[in-house]
Symmetry: C2
């Protein structure tokens, strides 16, 4: 059914070895011009394609790059994925994309899966959660993977012993807090994401701390926890509304959450920013289509994908490499000067 290299060799009247060298090259040996052309011609005639699996076995390495995301339909991750795809392509690698659907248990399974595939490198994108057991499992899975020659990179918190791109969440949230404080905001609510999610927590705490430095407190019950998704933003906003008192400004720890909140407010007739101001985090491409334009903290998502790929493909070293990525406040229309 399938045409193999042996078929080509026989048909071209050369040995298997020669056919292999002619078609897929060889470091040391080279093939005479005449023979090579004959082989190449018959390969085309027979519509031969090398079997990547067989090559992987023989060569001991594959040409695929695994990417793990929380949710591929989330613009945050699809933008990162686009960056990874671009970089992978530049390295001649195929991207195998897996989505954990925000389930960190699945994430562990998927790392195992990628290890089975003998992926050349694995990139795990998305912040970690404060779950010691899961983190240990993931750390172990990655260690196993690396022990067998794979290399991995993380986008998130540097807690798993592998190369990591660290987004400076605290810095971004701090700058944001100061920017809105400068604009006169004093009464806040926070759509805080999952309570145990590190990125969410970093953003939350830095925001609150920076306000505290200015003498502004955020009450505990002004922070609501809900999933790191659009629906999570909706739910959080409803909770906030049910509590009755609207703040001057809402900080959502993820853009998609801010968008969810805005959708709920729109439906409820609450005007942004007239009735309440809001800001997000991430600067996903979607924002260019949102009105009023959402104030946020820019994370260079596409570049994150490029960097992570680079880091994942870097020479393995003893010490995991940590690379910090700076964030930048982008003040837009949802947080006008208050007074």
């Amino acid at each position: 059914m399938t045409v193999t290299l042996s078929d080509v060799a026989r048909e071209a009247g050369v040995s298997l070895a020669t056919a292999s060298r002619a078609i897929n090259g060889s470091a040391s040996r080279t093939v005479g011009t005449e023979l090579r052309e004959r082989v190449l011609a018959t390969a085309v005639r027979l519509r031969y394609t090398p079997d990547a699996n067989a090559q992987a076995m023989a060569r001991g390495r594959t040409t695929s790059l695994g990417l793990l995301v929380h949710d591929i339909a989330d613009p945050y991750f699809s933008t990162i994925a686009a960056g990874v795809a671009e970089a992978a392509d530049a390295h001649g690698l195929q991207m195998t994309l897996a989505s954990s659907q925000h389930d960190s248990g699945r994430e562990v399974d998927l790392v195992h899966l990628l290890r089975r595939q003998r992926a050349r490198a694995i990139i795990v994108a998305g912040g970690r959660s404060n779950d010691v057991e899961i983190n240990d499992q993931l750390r172990l899975a990655l260690a196993d993977y690396r022990a067998t020659g794979g290399s991995a990179a993380l986008i998130g918190q540097p807690i798993l012993g592998v190369n990591t791109i660290v987004v400076n969440n605290a810095q971004g949230a701090t700058s944001l807090a100061r920017a809105v404080h400068d604009r006169g905001y004093r009464r806040f609510a926070i759509l805080g994401g999952p309570e145990q999610h590190f990125s969410a927590r970093e953003r939350r705490e830095a925001f609150i701390f920076a306000l505290g430095e200015r003498g502004t407190e955020v009450a505990d019950d002004a922070v609501v926890f809900s999933p790191f998704t659009h629906a999570g933003g909706e739910d959080g906003m409803r909770t906030l509304m049910s509590r009755g008192q609207l703040p001057e400004m809402i900080f959502a720890v993820a853009d998609v959450m801010a968008l969810g909140a805005m959708a709920v407010m729109r439906e409820a007739g609450i005007r942004v920013p007239h009735d309440v101001a809001i800001a997000g985090f991430g600067d996903i491409p979607t924002l260019r289509d949102v009105t009023p334009a959402l104030t946020t903290v820019r994370v260079p998502l596409h570049q994150l994908g490029l960097m992570a790929t680079q880091l994942a493909l870097a020479e393995p070293s003893e010490e995991p490499e940590i690379r910090a990525v700076v964030t930048e406040v982008v003040v837009r229309d949802t947080t006008p000067h208050l007074r």
Copy 2:
């Protein structure tokens, strides 16, 4: 470096065959409880993982599903991808995602690549273009792939001889034209996407034809062609504006194009829908965050992914199976009653 099945077998004191059967199961043979447990235990102890490539070779089939999209960062495709990922997962398959960046030449290369990988199935998502040469190449690539046991499915036009999910673009555009005509619109402009892109053309022509049935003509110079992207929508809109005369309504053949156009208008101080109405096509999830809410034609994107996967995994048959997907007009705020 890597632990192999032989290592496990030796360490457990059983034969290779027994180890294989214990770990990866077997249709006919079964392994004694005691031995199986011993094997499994040593496998865990040695941190053994089967090599998927070797299994692929030995079994003659892989467990990966290739998905080809025009652009993974486009919500249209990332939503489809989410559907495919979900369905693939349900079948125990891994998704290999490749993006052609709207370059149909690359698309052909990527099919070849996926064939090399011996992917179990290939899904090509996205409308075809009127390029006989490229289409022939793609048809040939898919035929080669299928000839060697692979199965493929397309989302787009049924012109390549493989199972295809056909989105009923004409029906959607027709319904949309009637709906807006009913609302009083008579003077139109069309952001028509790439001139040779079939889906764009189907939507364009059906829209114009349906209006014609109502006695309303769309002038040739009211149709502008530009890429099927956000930037394409921006460019097209600028072209339209430079021509001086704004229509009553703009039909963009893709949601992202409509969003691009709206962004340009917003910047230019043109109010939607007060100054001009607009509608898109696709109903991407992003729309829930856009104001004013965009009128569009709903394409069940996520479901498209599920269906395509199902179709790609279906028993191969002589005649390619064609499955039609209906679309549905969703009138929102960008096309209010005109008079």
